[in-house]
């Protein structure tokens, strides 16, 4: 047995912490989702300009926030993986990617469904929409890159470099509405002057945002656990072949 398992002491500690947090995060996700959906569909009034389509915002904006936040988290993890070679860092970036991809896809699809009644088109090639589509492709490219190497550390390295290069897209998405003329409205929650949305619509939006965050954490714990165990499984298979 040439492989030293003490290297995986850290993942073990991570798994213990994750199992302790998991029920709370999952419970919070369910509770916030129910509250957010109830408020968004039944309590929030319709918008004076957009009518009932404003309700699409409650599933569109949190998805877009998560698509960008998850990518940022992956970039930080990938950098940590490259610099300190921490085994959980690469695996956590790998585990987060499909979740971020789902959120980004949802932001694009719900955005199209909102664009048609409000702008008269499902899609325009403007800065915000295009940079969001690039984000989806970055996620997909990242996931494909992991699958295209047999060697774990080579795959981790290549994927980490892709995430870090692609990270330039995150500020581009954020400021695209200010830098270019676009159909997409500018930031209306995270602005220097504070949110520009009325509380009756802002509250359900923030609750849904928190719900998506908790949902991310819950699925993330499941996926990191799977990645750590899969890594352990691969190592054990190799060591069995060597015996």
């Amino acid at each position: 047995m040439a492989i030293d398992f003490h290297k995986y002491a850290n993942p073990t500690r991570f798994l213990r912490l994750a199992s302790a947090v998991f029920p709370w995060v999952t419970g919070a996700a369910v509770l916030l989702l129910v509250t957010g959906l109830y408020m968004g569909l039944f309590v929030a009034p319709e918008d004076y300009q957009q009518g009932e389509t404003v309700r699409i915002m409650f599933v569109h904006v949190p998805a877009a926030w998560m698509g960008m936040s998850v990518y940022t988290m992956m970039a930080v993890s990938a950098a940590a993986g490259l610099i300190w070679k921490h085994p959980v860092a690469d695996l956590s970036a790998k585990a987060a990617a499909p979740i971020g991809a789902c959120f980004t896809l949802l932001a694009l699809v719900t955005g199209a469904l909102w664009g048609q009644p409000m702008w008269g088109t499902y899609w325009v090639w403007d800065a915000r929409l295009t940079s969001m589509l690039i984000l989806l492709f970055l996620y997909l490219g990242y996931m494909a890159l992991w699958g295209s190497f047999d060697d774990h550390s080579k795959a981790a390295r290549a994927a980490a470099i892709l995430v870090l290069v692609g990270a330039i897209n995150i500020p581009v998405i954020k400021f695209s509405v200010d830098w270019w003329n676009t159909l997409h409205q500018p930031a209306s929650v995270a602005t220097l002057d504070g949110p520009k949305i009325h509380g009756s619509i802002l509250t359900p939006l923030l609750v849904m945002g928190a719900a998506y965050m908790m949902l991310f954490l819950s699925v993330f714990i499941i996926r990191v656990k799977a990645e750590i165990m899969d890594r352990r499984l691969q190592i054990m298979k190799i060591s069995q072949l060597q015996e």
């Binding site: 319709e46 009518g51 009932e52 389509t53 309700r55 699409i56 599933v59 569109h60 998805a63 499909p98 979740i99 789902c102 896809l105 949802l106 699809v109 719900t110 469904l113 909102w114 048609q116 009644p117 949902l215 699925v219 499941i222 996926r223 656990k225 799977a226 165990m229 899969d230 352990r232 499984l233 054990m236 298979k237 069995q240």
Partner: protein
């Protein structure tokens, strides 16, 4: 009932509002289901390896402690 129908109509935007909620529910549910399934599969595959390792560890431990028991 009329009130409920009005709710479903979403001010004439039902064709846009409901699909966005539906697609969100479907995609996120599938994400959870696939993630849990993958974890279960890996746990199942890993089990025999872990058991074998544990058995081997117990064997080496008992062989090491045997001489001590003799004295």
């Amino acid at each position: 009932m009329a009130e409920f129908n009005e709710f479903l109509e979403m001010g004439g935007y039902a064709a846009f509002v409901w699909p966005s909620y539906l697609v969100s529910a479907v995609v996120l549910t599938l994400l959870v289901v696939f993630s849990v399934r993958r974890l279960r599969r890996i746990e199942r595959d890993l089990k025999p390896f872990e058991e074998r390792r544990q058995a081997r560890r117990n064997r080496t431990r008992s062989s090491r402690t045997e001489p001590l028991n003799d004295t």
